[in-house]
């Protein structure tokens, strides 16, 4: 975690990455819908070594009242990392990074949630990163979509998310922590596959115009894979043979 090994080979001659994956292969993703007793909806995701828990409350009364909107419901998102989730202890108070990520995740979810059906109310999404290993905002957004669906909130689509990036001059899917630290570019993408809309997009790193378009394309295709896992998580909870 956070280890920067100068001798690490990011991509070997056989096209295998530092953690043994192929260039278009995501890490192991396990999504579980539900799990929290008190939340109206919840989800848990393991995305490689990321472990993230999401709880959703609402639609419910807005406090403070002045935040409420008579035309529509509002969505509030808090993305928060536990102090023990990263290599060096993180101060528990929300950092500027966490505030920005909360905002981009909120704006990524807003197009999906039919907030106009619940004027004067709020839907609160609480994201807790229990362990982080690169790509937390995408994993969090993916899990938050499942938690919103689990809460029974009407949605136009779910947002699936994954990062593409450039590592060792190659466009790859799902950048992990080592690749993010040592790689050349990281592009988190959130996408609504049924509506074909990109609702989260960020980039840092240098890309040619062609690489840029390829990165978007690889990310969108990756989101479609994640989307199937989101649907499976909901299916398992509501229609599947549950062993628990």
């Amino acid at each position: 975690m956070g280890g920067r090994d100068a001798t690490m080979v990011l991509l070997d001659e056989n096209g295998i990455r530092c953690d043994g994956r192929k260039i278009d292969e995501p890490r192991k993703i396990v999504i579980k819908a539900g799990g929290l007793k008190n939340a109206d909806g919840s989800a848990y995701i393991e995305f490689g070594d990321n472990k993230i828990l999401v709880g959703v409350f609402g639609p419910r009364d807005v406090h403070p009242k002045h935040m409420s909107n008579t035309d529509t419901g509002i969505l509030r998102v808090r993305y928060h990392m536990e102090p023990f989730s990263v290599g060096e202890r993180k101060r528990p108070a929300p950092s500027r990074r966490e505030i920005e990520i909360s905002k981009v995740i909120k704006e990524a979810l807003e197009p999906a949630v039919m907030l106009e059906k619940f004027p004067r109310t709020a839907v609160d999404v609480f994201i807790e990163v229990l362990q982080a290993d690169g790509g937390t905002r995408c994993a969090a957004l993916t899990a938050a979509s499942v938690a919103l669906a689990d809460a029974g909130i009407p949605m136009r689509d779910m947002v699936a998310a994954i990062a593409s990036g450039k590592v060792a001059d190659t466009i790859v899917l799902d950048v992990n922590n080592e690749e993010d630290q040592a790689g050349q570019a990281d592009m988190p993408i959130g996408y609504m596959p049924s509506l074909k809309k990109i609702t989260l997009l960020q980039l840092d790193g240098v890309l040619t115009p062609e690489e840029y378009k390829k990165c978007v394309d690889v990310g969108v295709k990756g989101c479609e894979v994640v989307y199937e896992l989101q649907k499976k998580a909901l299916h398992d909870k509501y229609f599947g043979n549950r062993s628990n």
């Binding site: 500027r96 990074r97 505030i99 920005e100 909360s102 905002k103 981009v104 704006e107 990524a108 807003e110 197009p111 592009m187 609504m192 509506l195 074909k196 809309k197 990109i198 609702t199 989260l200 997009l201 960020q202 980039l203 840092d204 790193g205 240098v206 890309l207 040619t208 115009p209 840029y212 378009k213 978007v216 394309d217 969108v220």
Partner: protein, 272 residues
């Protein structure tokens, strides 16, 4: 500015109607930014400064360069940091107190665009490895608002950095000490240019003004470097883009950015 008034709702209908005909309220083409005025060295006490008008959006950046202790894990690199703040006199909705999430986003997006382009060569800003390095701080304040703070702040910071002069320091008795007559140009390489595009209905407009900003469904800010590469991107706002739109915005950012870069270069030359 997240507030939307009744007027904004009415204006949005008008803006959309015009866009259907390929027109904008202020007569610009869809891919046309507003006039950019760059005043270099607006604050002579700073090591570099620039006041930028992007239409009626008015921002000021001052660069301060001073010795600092390096971050523990990167003792062989100087520091670069860019901040942005909306002054309470810039708009009635801006309040004093800790920054809201939109201002934090603004500051981080402006910082990221310049940082990821590697414009400021931090490896040249070391006085003594692991002991003392040079810190370059570009602080941008917004003075007046008519949409698109992102690009105005980015141009101001870039222009100020391009024209910054830095003292030279050497270690004397374990303290960084200014070398007499050692003032030189701040080492910079590429020129990053951010281009913000708003989506209104199915239309993409470059450099949204205040009315367009209040009416748009979502936005994307893309920063390109002198090689025409894309170095940073941020999507914002409560809707989404199609993949084609994102590709189009990428092309637009390179095309529009190239022209603005020429203007920044000109400002740099004129200051010398």
């Amino acid at each position: 500015m997240a507030t939307v008034s009744v007027i904004d709702e009415l204006k949005k209908a008008q803006i959309l109607e015009l866009l259907e005909q390929g027109k904008r309220l202020d007569g610009r083409a869809l891919d046309e930014p507003r006039e950019i005025k760059i005043e270099i060295n607006a604050i002579p006490k700073a090591n570099g400064s620039a006041r930028v008008h992007l239409g009626d959006t008015d921002v000021l950046c001052g660069v301060k360069i001073q010795p600092d202790r390096p971050f523990p894990d990167v003792g062989d690199k100087g520091m670069f940091m860019c901040t942005a703040e909306l002054l309470p006199l810039s708009h009635p909705t801006v309040e004093t107190g800790p920054p809201r999430d939109d201002v934090i986003e603004l500051a981080r997006v402006v910082d990221r665009g310049i940082r990821e382009s590697h414009m400021v060569d931090v490896s040249q800003l070391v006085i003594e490895k692991d002991k003392s390095v040079v810190g370059v701080f570009a602080d941008v304040v917004a003075i007046d608002y008519d949409g698109n703070y992102f690009d105005a702040c980015s141009y101001a910071a870039t222009a100020a950095l391009l024209t910054s002069k830095t003292p030279t320091w050497e270690m004397v008795d374990d303290q960084p000490t200014v070398v007499e007559g050692g003032e030189k140009q701040l080492p910079t390489s590429t020129i990053p240019v951010s281009v913000t595009m708003g989506k209104i209905g199915n239309h993409i407009v470059v450099d949204p003004n205040g009315d367009e900003w209040a009416s748009m469904d979502c936005r994307v800010t893309i920063t390109t470097d002198s090689d025409g590469h894309i170095v940073a991107l941020q999507k914002g706002g409560s809707d989404g883009f199609t993949q084609d739109e994102i590709n189009e915005c990428g092309d637009l950012s390179i095309k529009v950015g190239a022209k603005i870069r020429e203007q920044l270069k000109l400002a740099q030359q004129e200051s010398q």
